[in-house]
């Protein structure tokens, strides 16, 4: 598969503070790539550099096949960027914002109007289209922001924390829109501090911590980096539970809830072995669940700290 973004040895310092300390990234065309990391990890700096908003101190960067240093204009023609902070014009209406974008993409008057109407409908802003964007709610602004990014049908889209500060419903709407984009062949480069978001959306995830990539792979690959997978067997009768405890001596029993917990890597082979032992002993198991470590475990393992959760107050975005 050809790559949409290729980065080798990306360095960036502000003054004597190193923000990015040598980063390699490869994003395949038509996939969602998620850069995951806590606040201050350098995620926004990566997006700024890749979208020509900031210069790199060192590194080879190709975006959409163009050398970023040699031909930034060609890079700009191929990308769309939705930054962390709303990039809509508050004094213009939603429709005017979209038409302005269409004009800047030189779509022509008639096509500009058509595209604006199409996006307003697609992003559920048709009714709000005649109101100034400053009257919009956070979720509506984010949708308009995204719609404006899409006016020129970019091949590569950068989304810098697209759901930070959104309520769960708006977040799911944005996720849906992102999935739809990739279904149409667009490449999405997404930064997030939410593990769930990366897990839900991304084909590949890179974990960024204080300017260095500490892990990279699919969500599944990353989870495999962390031991601690297990299987839980639940029983209804205390007799079966007691019997199972003797058949499976390595299990950790929870006598109150009649649950046995067995260390297990979740592979087919080990599952089959377990099931045949259950069959051989004719155990009556009420429920079997496989638990693989989640990305939070991964993040903790590779960085030594927990990331933000949805339940935490979502005001980090405003403090930078």
């Amino acid at each position: 598969m050809s790559s949409a973004i290729d980065v080798r040895g990306l360095h960036k310092s502000y003054g004597d503070k190193a923000v990015l300390g040598g980063i390699d990234l490869h994003v395949a065309e038509g996939t969602i790539f998620s850069l995951l990391g806590p606040n201050g990890a350098g995620k926004t700096t990566v997006v700024h550099i890749l979208s020509t908003l900031a210069t790199a101190d060192a590194g080879e960067i190709r975006v959409a096949g163009h050398d970023l240093h040699a031909d930034p204009e060609a890079v700009r023609a191929a990308i769309g960027v939705t930054g962390q902070f709303s990039a809509v014009d508050g004094l213009l209406t939603g429709r005017e914002n979209l038409i302005m974008m269409a004009d800047l993409h030189h779509l022509g008057r008639r096509e500009a109007r058509r595209r604006a109407e199409e996006l307003l409908a697609q992003f559920d802003l048709a009714e709000a289209g005649t109101r100034p964007a400053m009257t919009y709610s956070g979720g509506m602004r984010r949708r308009l922001d995204l719609a404006m990014t899409l006016v020129g049908s970019p091949r590569i889209i950068f989304l810098d924390e697209p759901t930070t500060g959104l309520d769960p419903r708006s977040r799911h709407t944005v996720w849906q829109l992102i999935r739809q984009l990739v279904a149409d062949g667009v490449t999405v480069f997404l930064t997030t501090q939410y593990l769930e978001e990366a897990d839900q959306l991304a084909d590949r995830i890179a974990v960024l911590d204080v300017g260095r990539l500490v892990a990279q792979g699919t969500a599944e690959e990353l989870k495999r980096l962390v031991p601690g997978g297990h299987i839980r067997l639940r029983f209804t009768s205390p007799e079966e539970f007691a019997l199972a405890g003797r058949v499976l001596p390595t299990a950790l029993p929870d006598n109150e809830s009649l649950v046995l917990q067995l260390p297990n890597d979740g592979s087919v082979h080990s599952l089959r072995a377990l099931l045949s032992r259950i069959d051989d002993a004719s155990l009556e198991v009420d429920e079997l669940t496989v638990h693989t470590p989640d990305l939070d475990d991964v993040f903790f393992a590779v960085t030594g700290q927990r990331t933000a959760h949805e339940t935490e107050p979502q005001n980090e975005g405003a403090s930078k």
């Binding site: 020509t52 210069t55 060609a74 709303s86 990039a87 809509v88 508050g90 404006m148 990014t149």
Partner: protein
């Protein structure tokens, strides 16, 4: 580059729409010079003229009007500086900078918007001045030359004001950083009083600062006051120098830190 005009027009439309939705800034820029011409022409004029012992043999209103025209341009630099700075503090400029558009369009849109606003303001000042008794004796050619000089000065000062506005972190800061242009230079020049009536230090400053030869040239063209040889060229040279500095400085500030 073929999109230079088209993108500038798009940015201009945006700025004009802003002026229409949020008219306070533009109305302030339009109203202030009109108030000045009425206030100094009708209310303080006689006292000033008496105190000066006549304005070099000219009617004070005739003497004043070219100065107020310059002042309109100067005070009009506040709004583009604030507008450019406000845009920079919001995400929209980051969006523009990641798009494949004519790079200076954001700036040229602001410049053009302010030039249009200033032309309206100058027309209003001339209109009101004529209404209260301004009697220029300029020929059509003089008017053309004067208009040309005013236009060049407007473009030059607007570029400089935008460059200054882009250096400010907040819109409030932007309105302060242009104060030397919008207030200091017009007041410490021959806008209200002739050079001869100024005290030493201020007189020295007024004599060598850019606004004085420009006002003197305007007065010469509009009401026929005598002028030092070469003042016209000096006025034009100042305008061009300010324009060049403003133009390149504004681009530099706009592109700061980005890959271009």
């Amino acid at each position: 580059m073929s999109y230079a005009l088209q993108d500038t027009a798009t940015m201009l439309r945006r700025n004009l729409r802003h002026a229409q939705r949020y008219p306070a800034l533009s109305l302030g820029a339009l109203g202030m010079p009109v108030i000045m011409i009425l206030l100094f022409g009708l209310v303080f004029g006689d006292t000033f003229a008496a105190g000066l012992g006549g304005a070099g043999g000219f009617d004070y209103l005739d003497f004043l009007t070219p100065g107020i025209l310059l002042m309109s341009i100067a005070s009009g630099t506040m709004s583009p500086a604030v507008a450019a700075c406000t845009d920079m503090t919001e995400g929209i400029v980051s969006r523009f900078r990641t798009m494949a558009i004519f790079r200076p369009a954001f700036l040229t849109g602001h410049v053009l918007g302010n030039v249009i606003l200033t032309i309206v303001s100058l027309a209003l000042v001339v209109g009101f001045a004529l209404l209260i008794g301004f009697r220029p004796n300029a020929s059509f050619a003089d008017w053309l030359l004067a208009s040309g000089l005013l236009l060049v000065l407007t473009v030059a000062l607007t570029w400089l004001a935008i460059a200054l506005g882009l250096t400010s972190k907040t819109p409030e800061g932007a309105s302060n950083v242009v104060l030397p242009i919008s207030l200091l230079l017009p007041f410490l020049s021959t806008t209200f009083i002739p050079l001869e009536s100024m005290p030493g230090g201020i007189r020295w400053f007024a004599e060598y600062q850019p606004f004085t030869p420009i006002i003197d040239t305007l007065r010469h063209l509009l009401i026929g006051t005598p002028m030092d040889n070469g003042d016209g060229w000096l006025a034009l040279a100042w305008c061009l120098a300010i324009a060049v500095v403003g133009y390149f400085w504004a681009q530099k500030n706009y592109n700061k830190g980005t890959t271009v």
